[in-house]
C-alpha cells in the first residue's frame, strides 16, 4: 500500500522510501523506513498531511504515491 491511499486518522509504518535526493531529505526530517506516521488530513488534489515525531508535514500526492507503507 502507498501513503497516498492512507485514510484520514489512520496510522501506518513506512516500509520503503523513493531513491535519490528526496530520500536524503526524508532521512533528515526523520522519516525513515520503520517510522510511524499518521494521516492528519487529505486535501482535494491529493496533497496529504501526515504527523510523525510530533511534527506535521505536507506532501504532494505524487510524492506520497512513492512511499510504501503498512497500515497499522
Amino acid at each position: 500500500m502507498m501513503l497516498n491511499h492512507l485514510a484520514k486518522g489512520l496510522r501506518a509504518r513506512i516500509t520503503a522510501l523513493p531513491d535519490g535526493e528526496i530520500r536524503s531529505q526524508f532521512i533528515r526530517l526523520g522519516l525513515v523506513e520503520g517510522a510511524e506516521v499518521r494521516c492528519m488530513d487529505r486535501l482535494p488534489g491529493g496533497t496529504i498531511i501526515v504527523e510523525f515525531c510530533r511534527q506535521e508535514i505536507a506532501l504532494s500526492g505524487e510524492l506520497a504515491a512513492s512511499i510504501a507503507i503498512d497500515q497499522l
Partner: protein, 675 residues
C-alpha cells in the same frame, strides 16, 4: 549508551573564501532548521546595525552584524548541509568558513533538528547548541534533559525561550565554550583519510556525502548517493538514540497543533480561512496603505510639499514657466494660470508672490516647465531626481513596508507553509510549487519587489516561470487602482472579459512554460510548524530589514529608469517613439492615437500608462483592449532592470521582448474580436 571518544589529530581550519563585508574578527554563524526561532536570536544578538547583502554569485540574502568581539552571520534555514538548493549552498559556504557555529534547535522537534547538529559536529566545527522553545516542550509534557544532551553531543547546550528572551543572556558564555563534539569512530577515521586530500574536515565530510560542488573544488570525484545514504542513516540512528536518552514521555501521543493550525489545512475550513486571510491582507495593504496612506504621503507630502519646494528652489534664478492648476474635490480642473519667469521665481519675487496669493489655500497642482534642458532632465515633469524621490520614498516605501509587514506576520505566525500547502495543487497547473504563492501575491503590491522575492523558489525553472508570470500578467497595486476605476465605468461585461482574458492568458503561459522548459516541478514536501502569535518586535525588525534591503537593491534602477525616460523626453526621442507606434495603436488595436502616449508612459510607471487612458473617452470594448495591452505590456523600467539583474540579460530580454509582442498581439486580437 556510550560513544567512544576519538583521539583528535590536529585539523586544518582554513579560511578559503571571503564572505560579504569580511573582517578579521572570528566568525560566529547561526545555523538552524526553518522556524526554530533563529531570526529572534539573531535580532537579539545583532542590535540595531545589520548589513544585508547578496551572497557572492547568488541571489540569496545574507545578514551580517557585529556582536561583541565577533562577526555574526545569519544563514538561511536548512535541514542539513548539502547542495540541494540555492539556500543550502549558501548556508553550506558560510558554515564552511565559520569559526564557531551556534546551532539553534527546537526542543519539541529534536529528532528532526539534531540531524543537522550531528552533521555540524561531524564537520569538525566548533559547535554550541541552543535548545529553543523549551516552554513549548514543557507544555507538551516533554522532559528534555539538557545535561544528558550536552554529554551525548559533547558540545555545550543552553535552553532558551527566545521570543521571551529567557536564557538568551547565556549565549555569550555558551559561545566561549563552543567545541568540537563527538563523532562516530568509523566516520572519523574515514574523514581523516579524506582530510589529506581536501584539507579541512568539513569539506572532507561533504565530499564523502557526495557533494558534487565541494568535490569539484578539489578536483576529485564525490562519493555516490549510496555512500551518502549510509552516512545519513547512521547519523539518523545516532540522533534517534540520543533523543531516546534525552527526551522523556515521548509515548504520550497528542494532537499538537492548535485548532487554527489544523483547520487552516483542512479541506473544509482551509480555503475559507485562506480567503479570509487574503482579504485581511488586501484591506491592510490594498486599501489602508495603498489608498489612505499613499494618498497622504504621495499626494500631500511628496508632490505637494517636497517636490514643490525642490522645484521652487531650483527655479529661484532659472527661466521657467509655472502653471498653477486649481482642482476641486474630485481632482477636476477649475481654473489654470500660467506665467513665465525669465529670471526665476526669486528673480521676480513679487510676481511669484502674487501667483501664490492667487492660489492661496485652495487645492492646486504646480507644474514647473524649465527652459534649461539639464534642469528638465533632473527636475522637469519626468525629472529623474524629483520623480524618483516622490515615487520611491512617498509611494513605494509605504507600500513595501505594508507588504513586508503583512508577510512577516504570516511568516512568524506559521501560516505561510500552510498557505503554500493549500495552493500547491492549483499552482502546479502553471508549473509552480506552493511556495510560489508568496511572490505572486507580492506582485499585486509591486512587481519589482515580487521579482526580487522569486529568490526563495527552489529551482531556476520555477524562478523563470514565476518571473515571467509576474512581469506579464500580474498588475501591480499602482496599476490596479487605475484599472479598477476604468473598468467601473466600462461595466460588468467589460470587467468579466478583461479578467477572463488575463486569467486565461496567465494559465496558458504557465502551462506552455511548464510543458516546454526542461525539468520538473519540485514536489511539495513542507514542514508545518506550530501556529504562534507573532511577536510585534520581531515582525517590525524583519519588516525593517527586508524593506531596507529592497530599497537598497531597487532604488538605483528606479533612478536610472526615470533618467532614461527623461533623456528620451528632452531629446525629443519620446515623440518619435510615439509616432512610430501610431499605426499599431490606431490600426491594429483600434484605439485613439493618444493611447500611444499612455503606453510609452507605462514604461516609466505602470500606473502612468493606465492613467493616460482616463482622458481618452474609450468605449467599453476599447477599454478592455487597452487594459489588456497595458496589463500584459512591459512593467515599469525598475522591474525590467531588476528582472535583468535577477534572471540575467539573455533570459530577461527574452521575457521583455516576449511581453511586448504578446501585449500588442493579444490586445489586438481582443480588439479585432470585440470591435
Amino acid at each position: 549508551m556510550s560513544v567512544p571518544s576519538v583521539e583528535h589529530k590536529p585539523h586544518h581550519h582554513i579560511r578559503t573564501e571571503s564572505l560579504p563585508g569580511d573582517t578579521l574578527k572570528p566568525r560566529v554563524v547561526l545555523v538552524g532548521n526553518p522556524n526554530v526561532g533563529k531570526s529572534v536570536v539573531f535580532n537579539y544578538l545583532s542590535g540595531l546595525y545589520v548589513d544585508v547583502s547578496n551572497f557572492p554569485g547568488t541571489t540569496v540574502e545574507v545578514a551580517k552584524a557585529s556582536y561583541l568581539q565577533y562577526d555574526l552571520f545569519d544563514t538561511p534555514g536548512v535541514y542539513g548541509v548539502s547542495s540541494f538548493n540555492d539556500e543550502e549552498r549558501v548556508a553550506r559556504d558560510i558554515i564552511l568558513n565559520a569559526d564557531i557555529i551556534v546551532n539553534i534547535v527546537d526542543a519539541v522537534h529534536l529528532e528532526r533538528d539534531l540531524f543537522l547538529t550531528q552533521q555540524l559536529i561531524d564537520m569538525g566545527k566548533r559547535v554550541c547548541v541552543i535548545v529553543n522553545m523549551i516552554d513549548e516542550a514543557r507544555k507538551q509534557k516533554l522532559a528534555v534533559d539538557l545535561a544528558t544532551l550536552e554529554e551525548e553531543l559533547d558540545v555545550p547546550v543552553l535552553g532558551t525561550v527566545a521570543i521571551r528572551k529567557e536564557g538568551l543572556d547565556g549565549i555569550h558564555a555558551l559561545i566561549t565554550r563552543a567545541r568540537e563534539g563527538r563523532q562516530r569512530e568509523a566516520l572519523h577515521a574515514e574523514l581523516h583519510r579524506m582530510l589529506s586530500v581536501v584539507g579541512s574536515q568539513a569539506e572532507a565530510l561533504l565530499v564523502l556525502e557526495g557533494d558534487p560542488i565541494i568535490a569539484a573544488r578539489h578536483g576529485i570525484a564525490a562519493s555516490d548517493a549510496a555512500h551518502r545514504e549510509e552516512i545519513y542513516i547512521d547519523r539518523r540512528n545516532r540522533v534517534n538514540r540520543i533523543v531516546h536518552h534525552v527526551v522523556k514521555d515521548v509515548q504520550t501521543r497528542k494532537l499538537l497543533s492548535t485548532r487554527i493550525g489544523r483547520a487552516s489545512v483542512s479541506p473544509w475550513f482551509g480555503f475559507p480561512i485562506l480567503a479570509f486571510v487574503l482579504y485581511l491582507v488586501y484591506l491592510f495593504v490594498g486599501v489602508f496603505v495603498a489608498q489612505d496612506v499613499v494618498g497622504i504621503t504621495e499626494g500631500d507630502i511628496g508632490k505637494g510639499i517636497v517636490e514643490f519646494h525642490i522645484k521652487e528652489f531650483i527655479a529661484a534664478h532659472a527661466a521657467v514657466t509655472v502653471t498653477a492648476t486649481l482642482l476641486d474635490d474630485d481632482d477636476e480642473v477649475i481654473e489654470e494660470r500660467a506665467e513665465r519667469f525669465a529670471n526665476g521665481v526669486k528673480g521676480e519675487a513679487d510676481r511669484w508672490r502674487s501667483m501664490r496669493a492667487w492660489v492661496a489655500e485652495r487645492p492646486a497642482e504646480y507644474d514647473f516647465a524649465f527652459e534649461n534642458p539639464w534642469l528638465v532632465l533632473f527636475f522637469g515633469e519626468f525629472g529623474a531626481v524629483t520623480m524618483t524621490l516622490t515615487y520611491l520614498v512617498f509611494l513605494l516605501l509605504p507600500l513595501v513596508l505594508g507588504f513586508y509587514f503583512a508577510l512577516s506576520i504570516l511568516e512568524d505566525s506559521g501560516y505561510l507553509p500552510r498557505l503554500a500547502t493549500l495552493v500547491d495543487r492549483t499552482l502546479r497547473f502553471v508549473g509552480l510549487n506552493g511556495r510560489a504563492v508568496i511572490p505572486l501575491i507580492l506582485g499585486f503590491g509591486c512587481v519589482t519587489m515580487a521579482t526580487i522575492t522569486t529568490r526563495l523558489l527552489g529551482t531556476q525553472r520555477e524562478k523563470t516561470i514565476a518571473t515571467t508570470i509576474l512581469q506579464l500578467a500580474i498588475p501591480c497595486s499602482a496599476q490596479l487602482g487605475v484599472i479598477a476605476a476604468l473598468l467601473a465605468t466600462a461595466g460588468v461585461q467589460a470587467t468579466l472579459i478583461y479578467t477572463g482574458v488575463i486569467f486565461a492568458f496567465l494559465v496558458l503561459v504557465g502551462t506552455i512554460m511548464n510543458r516546454s522548459l526542461p525539468g520538473e516541478i519540485s514536489p511539495l514536501l513542507i514542514d508545518l510548524p506550530a501556529m504562534r502569535l507573532p511577536q510585534l518586535n520581531n515582525v517590525m525588525k524583519k519588516t525593517g530589514f527586508k524593506t531596507w534591503f529592497f530599497m537598497k537593491e531597487a532604488s538605483p534602477w528606479f533612478f536610472i529608469g526615470a533618467l532614461a525616460v527623461s533623456i528620451l523626453q528632452v531629446t525629443g526621442a519620446l515623440v518619435h517613439i510615439m509616432d512610430a507606434l501610431q499605426p499599431l495603436v490606431t490600426g491594429w488595436l483600434q484605439l485613439p492615437r493618444e493611447a500611444a502616449t499612455a503606453f510609452v508612459m507605462g514604461l516609466v510607471r505602470r500606473d502612468f500608462g493606465a492613467a493616460g487612458l482616463y482622458d481618452l473617452s474609450l468605449s467599453p470594448y476599447q477599454t478592455v483592449a487597452a487594459l489588456v495591452t497595458i496589463t500584459l505590456f512591459v512593467p515599469c523600467v525598475a522591474s525590467l532592470m531588476v528582472m535583468l539583474k535577477e534572471r540575467g540579460l539573455h533570459e530577461g530580454m527574452i521575457i521583455w521582448v516576449g511581453s511586448l509582442v504578446l501585449a500588442i498581439g493579444i490586445g489586438g486580437v481582443v480588439s479585432q474580436v470585440l470591435l
